[in-house]
Every structure is written in structure tokens, then in C-alpha cells.
Amino acid sequence: MSAPAERVIDFAGHRIPSLSYRILAGAALLVGLLVALVALPDAVLAYLDSHGVALPLPIATATVAGGILSALATARYILRPSRLYGPLSIATSLATIGYLLRFWWAASYRFTIPGSSSATFQVGYVDLILLLLVVPAFGLAAGVVTTIEDLSAPGERLPFDYPA
């Protein structure tokens, strides 16, 4: 039994969800990403700020960077059946790497412990950033491979991305 006609385009042995369906699902994905990448970091930063703790990065930066990453990831999902999927994967990974490098640049986080004028705490997180960079690095490599695959054999991956 096939899926509802308004949701699925069925051809050549695979089923690609319609653009409207992908936009709808992408919107749901966007909401989740905005919560994880914008609302949550902003809430944590605002909490620290309200308690007199110096912030490792401005709230505006977290908002903009989280918004960009969320938008790119959503666009990548919606355009997955197209040739733009690979380049969008590369762009998303590069943006993530840039965001992480923004933290790498600071290398450590130093702040004064609230309620004490003389107690300072400093933590370095270079190693953590290095580990986190592995995630977009793999994503970047996957995006490059997909881009090459789409250029050399357009549509080759669709039966496997959207099996019937």
C-alpha cells in the first residue's frame, strides 16, 4: 500500500517526499534546532549574565550563529533530493567549524566567581573544541563526497536516500 498521494512522489523505484511535505517537516526540524542552538544557549548565557558571570561570547553572537546553523541544516534537509544537498552539507559544516573556531580563538574562559570580588576561575577548553571539530569535519567530508557523487552520477543516491 502506497503512501498518501499528496505527500509522496513515486517514481523510478524510490519515493521522494513532496516539497510541501519537506517544508513542513523542515519547519518542525527548524523549531527543534532553534531551541537547541539558539534558545538554550541564549538562556544559559542570560542566566550567567544575570549572576554577574562574564560571558564567553556575546548573546547576539550565539543567536546569529545558532540561527544560521539552524537555517542551513533546515535548507539541507528540504533540498536533500537536489544537487544542492552536498554543497549545503559543506556550508553547514563550514559554518559549524567557524562557530567552534570562535571558541577556539578564546582558548580559555575566565570569570570572577559571583559573590566574591577576589575569586577567579579559569578553564581551558581547547581539547574539547578539538574533539567537537571532529563532528563537522566528518560532515564536511560527507558533503564533499556527496557533491562529487551528485556531479558524476546525478540521482544515483536517491533510491537509497528515499527507498520505495
Partner: protein, 274 residues
């Protein structure tokens, strides 16, 4: 009746499998890192909730004219990760900012779920001209600066610096040597000398306090010895007559007290005699 067609499952091309594998690897690494960070956050919270280091100390005089502050403090690590290579440095300043002493602890590891005890001992050499001399006769607030370095949860080098103010009770707080009206004449002049102080240190002062009276020119005019047995948080006030050397006047001079107990000899700051 069955279908004449047999559905064949085609193996994905290599490029597709490679990209898919990389994406899955990326997801696995991300999930593992998120789990790690969540446990680090939990451990950090537990560590912060465990409260400041608990400890106690005692003070006393030791050989080489030194004041020893000895004690220990314990740090609990209820988290899931060790605190490795923890090294602490303590610097003690007196109330006017004069340097008193420095102590460094060796590098230790706070195992997860355990409590580690650090022994601490600060030896402060005391000479009449040193900043530490004020510790003998003046109650004051000491500034204890603490620097610590460690690696937390394998990945995070952390350093902390804070300053704690600690009340110091002087063993001869308010030390005062006052001279009464001399009596006698010629080579038989006697002057009553009163010594008073409060012992605010956490120790009992036993031994002898020898007082040398000097003229304004620094020449010794006479001496006497007070026997001490002064418990902590009690006062001492005693008067003794001192025979002065012939022709020696202590007016405008000074009194120098030397505390002797066991093998310890501590010279107190000179006290001016009006």
C-alpha cells in the same frame, strides 16, 4: 499466484556508502560528546555543591625562631571524573601587606567519589625587624591567597585563585612593658616593671620571658625573667622589681623581651619606655 518478478536489492555505490558512513560517524561522535559533556556538567555541579574545603589548623613556636601554622584540609570530589595534577600554592600576607610565608603542595589527584586530605604547614621566621614580628604582638586579619591548578575530567585545564581573610590571634597581643617610679639611690636603684599582654593564639605559653631594659643609648641597664604559664585566650599582667646598673637610666630607653620555651627563642619587638 506469486509475482514473476524478483526484487533485487542493489548495493549502494561506494561514494554513497562512504558519505553515509561519515555522516553516521559524525552522529556517533556527537552523541558521545554530548553524553560526556552532560556527565561533566553533572560532576561539576556535584563538585560545586560539595562546599569549600574543610580544615583546621594549629599554631605554635618551633626551633629557629619560627612560628609554625600547621593543619590540614580536605577536598571532596563527589563527581564522576578525577581532578588530576592538583597543585596548590598559598601565600600569606599580614594586615599591612607584608609577606609572611609561602607554601606549595605537591601535585595530587582527587579521585572521583572520594575525599583527599592535604597537610599544610607554613613556617614563618620571626625576627624583630621582619613583617612577621607583628604576628607576635598584634591581632590582625591575614590575607591568605590561594592559587590552584589541575586538569578536570581529562580535558579541561582549570585554575582558580581566591583570597581568604583569616583572623590571627597574637600570642602576646598588646604586649606592653611599663616602668614605675624608681626607688633607692646610688648603686641600688630599683624600678618596678610591669608586663601585660593577652594570649590570643591557639596555644599555651609556657616558659620564660626575659626582659632586658636598655638606656636611650642602647646600653643594658638591667634584666628580669617572668615565668609564663598563660593558656590561650587569657591575659598576663605581672610586676617585678628590676635593679638597675649604677648610673644607668631607662628613661627614653627600651625594653626587649625574649620568650624562651623548650628549644625555641623568640625575640619580641622592642617596647619603648617613656
Amino acid at each position: 499466484m506469486g509475482s514473476p518478478f524478483v526484487r533485487q536489492v542493489r548495493r549502494p555505490p561506494f561514494a554513497y556508502r562512504l558519505a553515509r558512513g561519515l555522516r553516521r560517524l559524525s552522529s556517533v561522535v556527537l552523541v558521545l560528546l554530548m553524553l560526556y559533556l552532560a556527565t561533566v556538567a553533572y560532576s561539576t555541579y556535584a563538585l560545586a555543591q560539595s562546599g569549600p574545603p574543610a580544615g583546621s589548623y594549629t599554631a605554635g613556636f618551633v626551633a629557629n625562631d619560627s612560628l609554625a601554622v600547621q593543619g590540614e584540609f580536605s577536598i571532596a570530589n563527589p563527581g564522576l571524573y578525577p581532578v588530576e595534577g592538583l597543585a596548590l600554592t598559598l601565600r600569606v600576607l599580614n594586615s599591612s601587606g607584608g609577606f609572611l610565608g609561602l607554601v606549595r603542595s605537591g601535585s595530587v589527584t582527587l579521585a572521583p567519589g572520594g575525599t583527599t586530605t592535604f597537610p599544610v604547614a607554613v613556617y614563618v621566621p620571626i625576627t624583630p625587624s621582619s613583617a612577621a614580628a607583628s604576628l607576635l604582638v598584634t591581632d590582625q586579619v591575614l590575607s591568605v591567597g590561594v592559587w590552584g591548578n589541575a586538569t578536570y575530567a581529562y580535558l579541561f585545564p582549570v585554575s582558580i585563585h581566591f583570597v581568604q581573610n583569616r583572623w590571627w590571634g597574637a600570642p602576646f597581643n598588646g604586649f606592653r612593658a611599663s616602668a614605675g617610679v624608681p626607688s633607692g639611690s646610688g648603686g641600688n636603684v630599683v624600678v618596678p616593671i610591669t608586663i601585660s599582654f593577652s594570649n590570643h593564639a591557639p596555644l599555651t605559653e609556657t616558659g620564660a620571658l626575659t626582659l632586658i631594659l636598655r638606656s636611650s643609648g642602647g646600653a643594658p641597664c638591667g634584666s628580669t625573667t617572668f615565668v609564663l604559664n598563660v593558656p590561650s585566650n587569657s591575659t598576663f599582667d605581672q610586676t617585678q622589681n628590676v635593679a638597675l646598673a649604677s648610673g644607668c637610666s631607662i628613661s627614653g630607653g627600651s625594653a626587649v623581651a625574649t620568650y624562651t620555651s623548650g628549644g625555641t627563642t623568640i625575640v619580641l619587638p622592642p617596647e619603648a619606655i617613656p
